[in-house]
């Protein structure tokens, strides 16, 4: 009999404790973000679809049309198209097609790019009426961003060594080549990180 009442009072008490808790939260400030009007900063690690990096010197892409990304992509959703203009030694990117409907965001293309020409965009607000809207032309997007942000080419003053034409693309290779010409025989992937440390000194 005593237990019967004990149980009832204990139960009633726990109910009151619960009510007190929710009452406290009811008057506490809200913690949500009013999404379309407010947005949270996205972390730098966020993987949106890939995008071409804007080279501040040329206000264009950094791509050297080496096809590494296209070849490494496990989903085969990249198509790099470049051409060699008259009188130039290097290929120039004319189109970079990304089929985002197939992309698994594995990041292989970003990792493999020798010139760091690719990055993840922070774009999380993707919506469309058909999947064809997610066949991106990244070069066009890059031009659009350049235009929208009003970026103008800011060429670096030519380095004293000369002959470098201040191009960013061979940057990683050059210091190494000057110090130890034989090193150019080494595979590129190993060489790049070593070389990268040098210009920073």
């Amino acid at each position: 009999m005593i237990n019967y009442f004990k149980e009832i009072f204990a139960g009633l008490w726990t109910l009151l404790v619960g009510l007190k808790l929710t009452a406290r939260y009811a008057v506490a400030p809200t913690v949500t973000c009013h999404y379309p009007y407010q947005t949270l900063p996205i972390t730098p690690n966020f993987r949106g679809h890939t995008d071409l990096v804007i080279d501040p010197e040329t206000a264009s892409d950094k791509c050297i049309v080496c096809m590494m990304c296209e070849n490494t992509c496990p989903s085969q959703c990249i198509e790099v198209i470049g051409e060699k203009p008259e009188g130039s030694k290097k290929k120039v990117l004319t189109a970079y097609r990304l089929d985002f409907t197939k992309c698994s965001l594995c990041g292989n293309c970003v990792e493999v790019c020798p010139t760091s020409a690719l990055e993840y965009s922070g774009d999380y607000q993707l919506a469309g009426y058909s999947r064809h809207e997610f066949h991106f032309e990244l070069l066009e997007r890059l031009r659009g961003r350049v235009k929208a942000q009003g970026i103008v080419p800011r060429p670096k003053p030519a380095p004293p060594e000369g002959g470098a034409e201040a191009e960013a693309k061979p940057r990683k290779v050059r210091p190494k080549a000057e110090e130890a010409p034989a090193a150019s025989l080494e595979p590129k992937g190993e060489e790049a990180p070593k070389a990268e440390a040098k210009p920073g000194e």
């Binding site: 109910l15 009510l19 929710t22 009452a23 939260y25 009811a26 008057v27 809200t30 949500t32 009013h34």
Partner: protein, 345 residues
Amino acid sequence: MTEALPPEILRIAVSVAVVVIFAFANAAIMVLVERKVCGHIQRRPGPFEVGPHGLLQTAVDGLKLMGKQILVPRGADGKLFRLAPVLSFVPPIAALIVVPFSSRLQVRDLDIGVLFILFLAALNVLAILVAGWSSNNKYSLFGSIRAVAQSVAYEIPLLICLVTIVLWVGSFRMGDIVQMQQGSWLWVIPNWFVFTPMGFVAFLIYFITGMAETNRAPFDLPEAESELTAGFHTEYAGMGFGLFFLGEYTNMVLVCAVATTLFLGGWGAPAFLEVTSTGVLANAYQLGWFLLKTYGLLVVMIWIRWTFPRVRFDQLLNFCWKILIPISLANLAVTALWLKTPFAG
């Protein structure tokens, strides 16, 4: 025009219109309050887009519901299916007729007021049964079976609690019950039944069973959405669903209004704030107190809903048969004995 109509009929027409408008306005306000309270308990603002702080949200929702087609599922009993929503919202609105909103603001002070309300409140379960049966849907049927089992169990303590008060007052008339609770004890504590030990226990049990009667969480088994999608109103779309909602909120306000009338002194203000005049202003003042108490109870109901998880079905019935009914019966016996002692009023 007024000469042609007997004043009594005119009075009834006007009061019915007022009661219906009150029911609709109450549902509109309560839905918003419910969503706001729920939101803030979960630390989000609730509806926020339509109107300042989402104040017009229910109006827009209502329009949306009205614009929708009412579908009758294949194999359903069409007539009953259409009848059920009406059956669910007419009785609670009709029951508002005997609720004394202030000393003069009462459509009819029937001398069987409490019985009238009980009778109409019991019709609610019939509406749920009809809805579940006619939908030709297993979830609906389960929902209504649960509702019936629940109602049969919970109506007993509900009735006993009300009888406790009726025994005390000696009248079924709502007006008499409120009148009995006027004045105060030692000029501090109002003479409300909730401030007496027996009255308090009866109030507590009445409030719990009232929540079960209106199928509110934690007793919302008839529409437990995680098990039965929406229970008895799974198949209802558009205004059919809207009417069930309207019925539920009117039922809630009815339960709280009855609690206010029977236990919280009705329209009476606490002694030190009492006014003795009987003019229009005094009535408005009383109405204010009545609505304050009723809506206070409604907010507590919402608060409870968003605090506690749903009970299991065996817990639900055990709680009623093993705790609520014995205690309310004991309470009734104690009250009866006390009324026989010379101390009783």
